[in-house]
Amino acid sequence: MAERTFKVYRGSDDDGRLESYTVEIDEGMVVLDAIHRIQAEHAPDLAVRWNCKAGKCGSCSCEVNGRPRLTCMTRLSDYGEGEPITVTPMKAFPVIKDLVTDVSQAYRNNASIPRFRPRPRDADDGWRMQQFEIDRAQEMRKCIECFLCQDVCHVLRSHGKHEEFIGPTYLVRTAGYSLNPIDVEDRSEFLRDAAGIGYCNITKCCTEVCPEHITITDNAIIPLKERVVDRFYDPLKALVRLVRRR
């Protein structure tokens, strides 16, 4: 069996270093398998998050050679034999320990989104919707909350604006509600102010890293931006609303 050496980030936010570990590699192994083998054989206190190990839960996000990845879906064979493999925590979040980051801010951002509010039921047994009407919303609902898009978003990664900007993950979540045909909540004020949607300047980095292949920028963020524009900057609609409110 072949051996391979990994460099893994160990330590906390302000006190960390890369440690080298060498383990045996079997056919088909992914990066997370290697981390587990390092845990079992060399470093039982090496911290990493994981759950499903099948790309469905979004727990094991890290950076492999500087690129945001789900470690359970990243095969070692994708890296050339001599190529070093370095595993580090997601850069946009504070490190708790080793590969585990503090993502609590993201959960606070989520809780701030105005909740789903349905129109009254269409019939006793619920709502009627056609599949084509819900395809867009279902695309948003594929999000596994892996935070890779938050990690790569330069507003968060380079500028640390977690308080001001809700980030792509939660714009996708908001779009999941707002594109639901039975939802009646108006989230445009939230999007403009608390969510800080204006910070996004559509560089599409988030779309590129999404393991669920959600077209985040085109199908979530741009339509939401348009709603904000329609709501606040379209003079005709603003007038209509004003009259209606009276």
Partner: protein
């Protein structure tokens, strides 16, 4: 040892999967303050992995479907051991519970008329599973998680309960540690709901994640509750077998629901040879008939035998492999590429397509998958009252996979997700109601410091065994000796092994600090897993017959008298003891329904 962090709630819900979230919502609706604790980040509980769908007799696809048919399918699938009251409540209430999710933001796939679509699954008479492609669990958990947060649940993520606190015979709270810091935290509550999920991590080949160590089973047992049906562990017929690192990862039954066929090394569709007497006449008798059913003519033709119940299919696969007709890596072949177009497969089974492509380098739109049985689900668990989900310990409730009773000797696919929301709701409502009349209890300081010191013990040792090694040994033992085919001799061996491993716990040591230390966490998990393993082995020894998911090579037939009892485990003078308890008989009209149909 001082425990500085303390919280108080009317109802404490331990577990943030489908069952725990639904319980929390119900308790809040009933006016209670609720603490919700989970070992992982919110939304990552095992429920997120559920693929195929959620069973409920909505009658959208076939108006003939109703709660009676669903009740009958569940009872028959459970091989006589389901609690009829639970099966009735489940069949009656699941339609409302499923529809309610859409009012909270869930979006299930639609039928032509705009209502929810429903997909066929093993053991269900009609297409009955509400679903979203092959990611139904994700839709369910996101919906419940956001709703619970907005309703005001007090959420504690990455926090593991390791002791239930009992004062004067009543549950009074729980002691936990924060995984990130290793610090202890005390939760006091008037009532407690256990919703901790499954226990499949005790086996080597499993579809379950690290979380599924059966904590609730051991916590409840230690608090004085009874366990039931622990021998019934479901081995799902189709897990991945290759490459080694993903051995056990689930391949949804949806692949067979959409037309996938099982073949052996000789290319034979072997399931035609394995239709049990009980289901004779219910399944297609030729490949041509099965093909016509797959192509859409479902009234004139019967289902393919690949859609037999899971126990039957899993055993058939084992028999084929043992007869030397297996695939190169010790499974059989599952092929959907010959029945469906690549576009169809990618649309209906997107995550299976990606799973095989990315993890095994196999394109399922052109090639066969290699599959074999994998440890999947615990039918047994904590014994509960069939209506309120109360355990025999006052103030303690259990719901979801951790609870026993609904599924008997074998669970039908799709019946777990509906179980979570039906009995999660019932448990949460009952716990909130009881909480109104109960006051918070003082927990004796000695009990807290004793429990905390016990948890810290391995830090004080040096150069001892590595907990990961011990865990691996346990998983291998359960795999080899308590797997899909069991014998008295192997089970006795396993019992000895498990007791030996318990002794070895005291010789383990843990390096590093308390903060996010997987070695330490694994040691704590092992304490729990060994209790679970012992309970499974003891019950499996007692059931000297083959029934549902429990197969004894030395007792290959079912024994009618054992079909009327459940084995119940409790603690007596510090020892685990087993008793046979009669299964409660359904009233005459329901019995007739089960035997003769609607």
């Amino acid at each position: 040892m001082e425990i500085s962090e303390r919280h108080e709630h009317d109802v404490l819900v331990i577990g943030a999967g489908g069952a725990g979230l639904r319980a929390a919502i119900a308790a809040i609706e009933a006016g209670a303050s609720v603490g919700l604790v989970g070992k992982s980040l919110l939304g990552k509980a095992h429920t997120v992995m559920a693929e195929g769908g959620m069973a409920a007799a909505l009658g959208n696809n076939r108006p003939e479907d109703n709660w009676q048919v669903h009740f009958r399918d569940t009872m028959r699938g459970g091989k006589g051991l389901c609690d009829w009251r639970m099966a009735r409540a489940h069949a009656r209430e699941s339609p409302d519970r499923v529809r309610e999710l859409e009012g909270w933001g869930a979006l299930f796939d639609r039928a032509e008329d705009g209502r929810m679509n429903q997909r066929p699954f093993g053991g269900h008479t009609y297409g009955r599973l509400a679903h979203v492609g092959d990611r139904t669990g994700l839709e369910m958990i996101r919906t419940l998680q956001d709703h619970a947060v907005h309703e005001g649940a007090d959420v504690f993520m990455e926090c593991t309960v390791f002791r239930l606190l009992v004062v004067d015979g009543r549950v009074a709270g729980a002691l936990a540690y924060w995984r990130p810091t290793g610090e202890f935290v005390l939760f006091r509550a008037r009532t407690v709901v256990l919703a901790t999920g499954g226990l499949g991590k005790a086996w080597k080949v499993t579809s379950n994640s690290w979380e599924c160590t059966g904590d609730g089973v051991a916590l409840a047992y230690d608090a004085g509750a009874e366990l039931m049906g622990m021998e019934f562990v479901q081995f799902h017929p189709t897990g991945m077998v290759w490459p080694p690192s993903v051995r056990g990862t689930l391949v949804t039954e949806g692949v067979r629901g959409e037309g996938g066929v099982l073949t052996n090394r000789d290319g034979e569709r072997f399931m035609f040879r394995y239709v049990p007497e009980m289901f004779e006449g219910d399944y297609a008798e030729s490949e041509e008939e099965a093909d016509r059913w797959v192509e859409g003519d479902r009234v004139a033709n019967r289902r393919p035998p690949e859609l037999l119940t899971r126990d039957v299919v899993a055993k058939a696969i084992v028999a084929e492999v043992e007869a030397g007709r297996g695939s190169p890596h010790g499974g059989v072949f599952l092929n959907i590429s010959e029945k469906r177009s690549p576009e169809y497969i990618k649309a209906k089974l997107p995550s299976m397509y990606h799973q095989f492509k990315e993890l095994a380098g196999v394109d399922i739109t052109t090639d066969a998958m290699e599959v074999g049985p994998t440890t999947h689900y615990a039918m047994g668990g904590v014994k509960v009252h069939p209506e309120t989900a109360a355990t025999c310990v006052p103030g303690l409730y259990a719901a979801g996979e951790v609870a026993a009773g609904l599924h008997g000797g074998n669970r039908l696919g799709g019946n777990s997700l509906s179980d979570l929301i039906v009995f999660g709701q019932r448990a949460g409502a009952a716990a909130a109601e009881e909480a109104r009349d109960v006051s918070l209890a003082e927990i004796p300081a000695s009990e807290l410091s004793g429990a905390a010191a016990g948890a810290m013990a391995p830090f004080a040792r040096e150069g001892g065994r590595n907990p990961f090694g011990l865990q691996e040994e346990l998983q291998q033992i359960m795999q080899d000796k308590v797997g899909i085919a069991r014998t008295d001799e192997a089970l006795r061996d396993a019992l000895e092994d498990v007791r030996r491993l318990r002794g070895a716990l005291d010789s383990c040591s843990v390096d590093g600090g308390r903060a996010f230390n997987p070695g330490w966490h694994t040691w704590l998990d092992l304490r729990v897993m060994l209790t679970v393993a012992e309970a499974v082995v003891l019950s499996a020894l007692e059931r000297r017959e083959s029934r549902g998911a429990h197969t004894r090579i030395d007792y290959p037939d079912s024994d009618a008298s054992l079909g009327r009892v459940n084995f119940v485990i409790r603690s007596s003078d510090g020892r685990m003891v087993t008793d046979a308890e009669p299964v409660s008989e359904p009233p005459a009209e329901l019995r007739q329904l089960i035997e003769e149909g609607v």
